[in-house]
Amino acid sequence: MKSFDTTYLKGHLTDEQFAECLDGSPLRSDLQAHLGQCEPCRLEMELFQTSVADLSAASLQWSRAQPLPSLRPLVAAQAKRSLVISLQWAVAAMLLVGLGVPAYVPTEGQNHANRLVRAQPAAADSEGESASDTALLQSVNVALAGADPSPLQEYRLEAPGLKNTLQASATTVRAQ
């Protein structure tokens, strides 16, 4: 096949070419040709696939060996609870309408009490905890971000001039 790019035969498959053969997209003809003619690369590819398939099989056997929970009672209990709550609301609404209870207007004192209650959870976090949580949130966001920026940061693909900007704010990078 003279039309194939035979430069690949001078060396073995690069990481990028090796990954391309395995990523599920249609196999490029030049890579296919290399694998057809180069035994070391073919054997390496086979070892990779077999090893991953073995782990896949072992992990599935492991998860199959775990006990299956029965979620039916949980679902039934949840359904019953939501039915009871709906009925309670319906009865309460009927009573309010039937007895002609005036609309609830909180007094100044009650408003103050509500504010205090609402303020409590925020006071529970110290500044130090908030700061470390914020830092952790940023690392989590970077690690789990559905948007594209993480490869840039993760693999340091950015141009040197961009590096500081990228490190300064993950949010800014996501917006780009």
Binding site: D15, A19, A57, S59, W62, S63
Partner: protein, 185 residues
């Protein structure tokens, strides 16, 4: 990947939560366990996944396999857990690993001689160790490709990542694992 006979069979399957669990629990549990590397939390997330799927079963349109739909829900829950629980989960996930010894004791039955079983055992542990070195996103993408047999497009849909991002994570993951096996490049 169209789910065959979307009409009656899927509705029946989704209407019985324990039947759903019986058929799909192992695959979802495996995916979650290996993604977050924590067996206990994986149990709880997998249970939430099935409860959520059951409650939202009316929204399943059958345009993908049930397992793909369940794994998409699991992916969202993994993210929610990280954010809602003020990262306790994240701290724990980084600290506790899935029990490799327990996993390695259950090997594929195809290899008969003790020597070949030992070799398979070694290789399997090698891949597992290499997986631990991947980032969460690389690992999720790698698992969806090689454990779930999804292509780039399907992985993108399941994770909500753009296809190019999926490809980048997958290629990096493959290269890392290739290097562990003594790759050339």
């Amino acid at each position: 990947m169209m789910y065959p006979g979307t009409g009656v069979s899927v509705v029946t399957e989704l209407d019985d939560i324990d039947a759903l669990v019986a058929q799909y629990w192992p695959r979802v549990l495996r995916y979650v366990s290996y993604s977050i590397n924590d067996a206990d939390l994986a149990q709880s997330i997998t249970q939430d996944c099935f409860l959520k799927a059951f409650r939202g079963r009316a929204s399943f349109r059958g345009d993908c396999a049930v397992s793909t739909w369940l794994i998409s829900i699991a992916n969202n829950l993994i993210r929610d857990q990280v954010r809602l629980k003020k990262f306790q989960f994240w701290r724990k996930a980084q600290a506790t690993a899935l029990d490799v010894a327990e996993m390695a004791s259950v090997l594929p039955s195809g290899e008969s001689s003790p020597e070949s079983r030992l070799m398979v055992n070694e290789r399997t542990e090698q891949v597992k160790a290499a997986l631990d070195d991947l980032s969460v996103n690389q690992r999720r993408v790698f698992l969806l490709r090689f454990f779930e047999g999804m292509d780039l497009e399907e992985i993108a849909q399941t994770t909500g990542m753009p296809v190019n991002t999926v490809k980048t994570h997958l290629h990096r993951g493959i290269s890392t694992i290739r290097a562990k096996f003594g790759g050339k490049a």
